[in-house]
Amino acid sequence: MTLPPDLKDRFPLLSQIVNGHKIVYLDSAASSQKPDCVIDAMNNYYKTINANVHRGAYEIAAQATEEMEQARRRVATFIGSESPHEVVFTKNATESFNLIARSWGGSNLSHGDAVLITDMEHHANIVPWQILSAEKGFEIRWLPLTPDGLLDLDQLDQLLDGVKIVSVTAMSNVLGTLNPISEISERAHAAGALVAVDGSQYVPHLPTDVHDLQADLLCFTGHKMCGPTGIGVLWGREEVLDSMPPFLGGGEMILDVRRDGFTPNELPHKFEAGTPPIAEIIGLGAAVDFLDSLGMENVRQHEIALTDYALRSLNKRYGEELVIHGPSDPLQRGGVISLEYRDVHPHDLSQVLDQRGICIRAGHHCAKPLMKELGVVATSRASMYLYNNESDVDALVDSLESAGEMFAL
């Protein structure tokens, strides 16, 4: 099985003309485009069943509630969980990490404890721990990288001593590196630590099974997986989520409120204060259906082939003039390609590409500690998804040269 060749036609935005060129969208690691079925599902909610959930006794409120809870069940199934109440809806992966740090970390971490993160984390999995550490005084440790951009697992066991939680990305948003989460989980559990995983770049691109990952907590975001912005997920093992105090307080998250206190709601509502982003949840449900219909294994195979093509094309054309960060083996990485071309600054490179309708990202990709490790302030990043094809890669490869002519020193 392969992906349908006309997949771009399902994404209305991908037929747009930008600066006189049909858009070449290579920034899906930042945010993916949305298929028509996701846009339609959200419109349909607003047009036909818009009502607040979980309280109205009338028909459309019941339908809205049912659609929202159905989306939760689909998301659970999509990541291999049998328990929809283990799926907590948040605003994005960043909020999911803040929830973990504030709720689990706030009640489990104190002076003398340690949290282990890695040198390839996104700021979303760094700063929440730093904020909490400033209050609680625990240590933040960093698992380093090997020269080819993999986690240096030789140092893992030694760094685990005294660690209460390991918080690690399943796939780097800069290097593309796929990390061996199940192995890390086994070793972390053996050392008595919990494991939280940043699945933001992983869940949209590879078949995901929370049992295989063996993690305790998993964060990801809707807008990178063909879904809308404003909706993220925190999945957690029931006993872990049960042990955690509420994060935000307000409506929905309570069973009872009295003058002298409150009783929190059951999972998952305990962590879902206030009116949820109903349309976005329904949109995410539609996105998960769309991905399921394609088959995540097919998505992965498509991206391996395309990444292989991109790496070979870039290296063949530019050789020594080009540095591509991260693993060279497409099987060890996703379709995120961070590059440095001659001495052209990423901002200037992306500006030149923009004139040809090519969208890539320039900057530190919210991973400043990693940039420092790489010895750069910024990189240019092209990232691919299920709708990209070889002609998109060709457009990227062809355009680098003109940027070089203009800016090489």
């Binding site: 600054h345 990423p346 901002h347 500006q351 900057g363 530190h364 302030v377 910024a378 203009m406």
Partner: protein
Amino acid sequence: MSGLEELYKEIILDHYRNPRHKGELECPPAHKTEGFNPLCGDEVSLTFLVEEGSIKQLRIAGQGCSISQASASMMAAAIQDKSIDEVRNLTREFKAMMSIHEETMTNSDQESVSAAALTLGDLEALKGVVKFPVRIKCATLSWNTLLTGLDDLDA
């Protein structure tokens, strides 16, 4: 490529390829101020020497794109020997040029821009940046950094 040529004027590329006033001055007697562009991670470090209320020397260090580097280089050339008040005025004029978009321009804005253009000189070449809003922060990085440094003097 017409849009690009408007942004990357030859004089900008010249300052980018051959930046003026690069380096660092010894502190003290010089003052040091640093700035970051949080969008892209670019860094600029300015050291400058103030004598009798005027900026006698300014040196630029750091990393950045062509726009931020050219803007810093042109700024250094423009403020040499200017009084701090004049530098503040020039900064205001430069920032006004950066943030006014053509489609929202009123008559009085147009007048102030052309008045500014008279004193901005070479810096006017950076006017094309306003059509690329993302890059305005690149162009203003060194200016905002200098302002912070001047404010620190007063503090």
